[in-house]
Amino acid sequence: MTGSTGLTNGGLTTGGLTNVSRRSVLLGLAAGTFVLATRPRLSFGQDKVYGADAMPGGVKDDPRIFLSIADDGEVTLLCNRAEMGQGIRTSWAMVVADELEADLARCTVRQAPGDEARYGNQNTDGSRSMRHHFMPLRRIGAAARQMLEAEAAARWDVPVAELRTDSHEVVHAASGRRIGFGALARGAAERPVPAETALALKTPDRFRYIGKAALPLVDNHDITTGKPVYGIDAQVDGMAFAVVARPPVYGGKVKRYDATEALKVPGVLKVVPIAAPGIPSVFAPLGGLGVVAENTFAAIKGRSMLEIEWEDGPNAGYDSASYRDTLQSAAEKPGKVVRNDGDVDAGLAGAARRVTASYYLPHLAQAPMEPPTATARVSADSCEIWCSVQNPQAIRNDLSQRLGLPAEKVTVNTMLLGGGFGRKSKPDFASEAAILSRAMDGRPVKLTFTREDDIRNGFLHTVSVERLEAGLDETGKPVAWLHRTVAPTIQSLFAPGAEHEGGFELGMGAVDMPFAIPNVRVENPAAEAHTRIGWFRAVSNVPHAFAVQSFAAELADAAGRDQKDCLLELLGPDRKIAASALSDPWLYGEDPEKYPFDTGRLRAVIETAAREAGWGRDLPAGHGLGIAAHRSFLSYAAVVVEAAVSDSGELSIPRVDIAFDCGAVVNPDRVRSQLEGAVVFGVSLATTGEISFAEGRVEQSNFHDYEVTRIDTAPRRIHTHLVSPTGFDAPLGGVGEPGLPPVAPALANAIFAACGKRIRSLPIRDQLA
């Protein structure tokens, strides 16, 4: 235990890479010697499983896997999700400690290595870490507490019902006896883990940590003193450093090369050819030439001296300007029908007025501040890797196959992530590090993507045209809605010829559009992918919400009405819409019974954001308010932006209000921080974010031409408003992503209110000049 500031973070600082334990032995509930059977999940007679139970690896909630208590009472928790700024390591501990009745200041968090069979699902994505693990974590804490209580009851020979646990001690009030966790741990570890039905979970009114603000963050003190170990900081004795020259066009390969000059650079050790994969490449490295050196700079310099002739392959003609025309043409023609309510053709034909608009959103790169990086040590019979990844188990599987090693011989150490945003769930970089270490006969190699490598070798956010058409009746009320969404799909990464959005993409705001309009059709014309398309924070919700929420405001404008009033009217009466009624078989993998689209909750966040932002207030000339709302990842978000456009067309954003309902709130401060981040991330992609291609090559390279929002261009004030109408009765929604989708359309709507210019193409850049 280090100091009194609160929770500590054991695993990732000074303990670092040889992360066994700061103690020589870890006693108590430590799991080392147990062979564990997963407790069977209660089935409730259901055929289909949802949520965490449906994930690869499922859920593990055995306290002996995740929790140990040392003789001095120190509690160590293993966190099974990657930390990339969302605060999961802190929230994880809050939940377990609460049910355990542990003192959070005597808990240390360590990071679980990649091992899905042991720890359960490890995909840190989809805004589901707490959504899926809140109840399992509570069960872990409660089970361990009950094991400690059972041990105390046996020692004192009193009924367990006479005991209570409080702040790291079991107390027998009648006799005034108290005993600490440390003294009970060894005995408790021998006791059976209570069955799920025998667990006594706390009632929410007794939560000490869950839902409480202002708790210390597990890694904050280290961060402010420069101690945390991110993937890029891994230190392995004797390691070399590497960068890779990759084909500039997706699907390309090295035709011929000359490494003579590169090898003359002092410090350069070796140039290693890496085979190019076919298309689709899944998560495989892109191939090219690895340059291994005694330090990163020598590797970079060596790479610049390589003479390479590339064979560009089938995507050499990828050009963003012409591809935009291709998408637009596709959007003008009927496509695969993915939702069809009523009769849209008749609705449009009989309308008093029709409104049509198309919206364009370019590719985007996640560009986490820590670029992709991994350090690998590969020997003939084992592999160990240290990296910042969102899915360590995928790396373990990949390396096991790639290196021909059994999975148990592959150790994946999940380090802190310097941001992820989806990029680090595609571990091509980890494979590269392993390939290079093997080529160096087992010498450890740290592979780093330079920023140019990151921008040019991404798994990019899709590019899309969203065409909306509505028919309005005489009063301006929409009676028909036709949405064509055209965008290359993430599935093109896995399946040759995949040209239609998957259910998981369409279910991100295209088909699950809740407006009370009798005739609705959503179509998805085909779009061919010419680069790697991947997950980007909030994924397809970004283009879908931009189009739908911009168009809703355009319909209000067409009717000469207030944006917010029209939005609420479009939403219609409060009701719970089944996913099936929205032609959405996906629903983020969750149970449709548990998660209907509750339009009352969307209404509540719209009303809250509008009220808190002072919707309708007097504004200075050139200022305007815009609103947008969107449900994604089972959470409801509404944003009001105040935009200011100067006479010369300069945009500034004095204020943003975001209202958010994610069901039960576990860690309010981290929810707020995620929303603050989402607001600025949304402003960034709306104002300057664009990756474009010419001759198959990414045109941008670094932060000078892939600009991200800075402190001086970020909204000056951000107000977050948490709306949680039903407290802990509400099933949890996601947090990391759902704040993002409504930001860009709210900004576009605010700009229209400020200066009358309708933004239909992102980024905004100089469109206001």
Binding site: N220, I223, G267, A298, L416, A714
Partner: protein
Amino acid sequence: MITLKVNGEQRQVDVEDDTPLLWVLRDELKITGPKFGCGIAMCGACTVQADGTPIRSCQTMAADAAGMEITTIEAISGKEAKAIQAAWEELAVPQCGYCQSGQMMSATALLRDTPKPTDGDIDAAMWGNACRCATYHRIRAAIHRAAEIMEG
């Protein structure tokens, strides 16, 4: 062989003269508080102080750093640094935390020159430090808070 003074210690490194200080610190001296973010002085993650002035270590050649007092986040001290660290923790500024060492190096230098900075001063001193988690408005609040802490 180049001799550098880093965090109060004389260190000898065997690198080419044009090697950026960032890679000397990170790869040779294993001082990993300064982060790699862009390599072209466009993100501020690599910010260290040279004789008290914030510099981008990715654009400072090792040979040019010889003779300077280089301070990284690991060894930063003084009342401004203490106030910045306290305010950063109090307002829970970091998300992923990766850029924060650079942010704090810039913010500490700002407070040393301008103990009571305006929002405009903060923009001018901090715009070069990018944060993809977008912790900017807490950074702004924490700088103002640190100024208060320094006043006592």
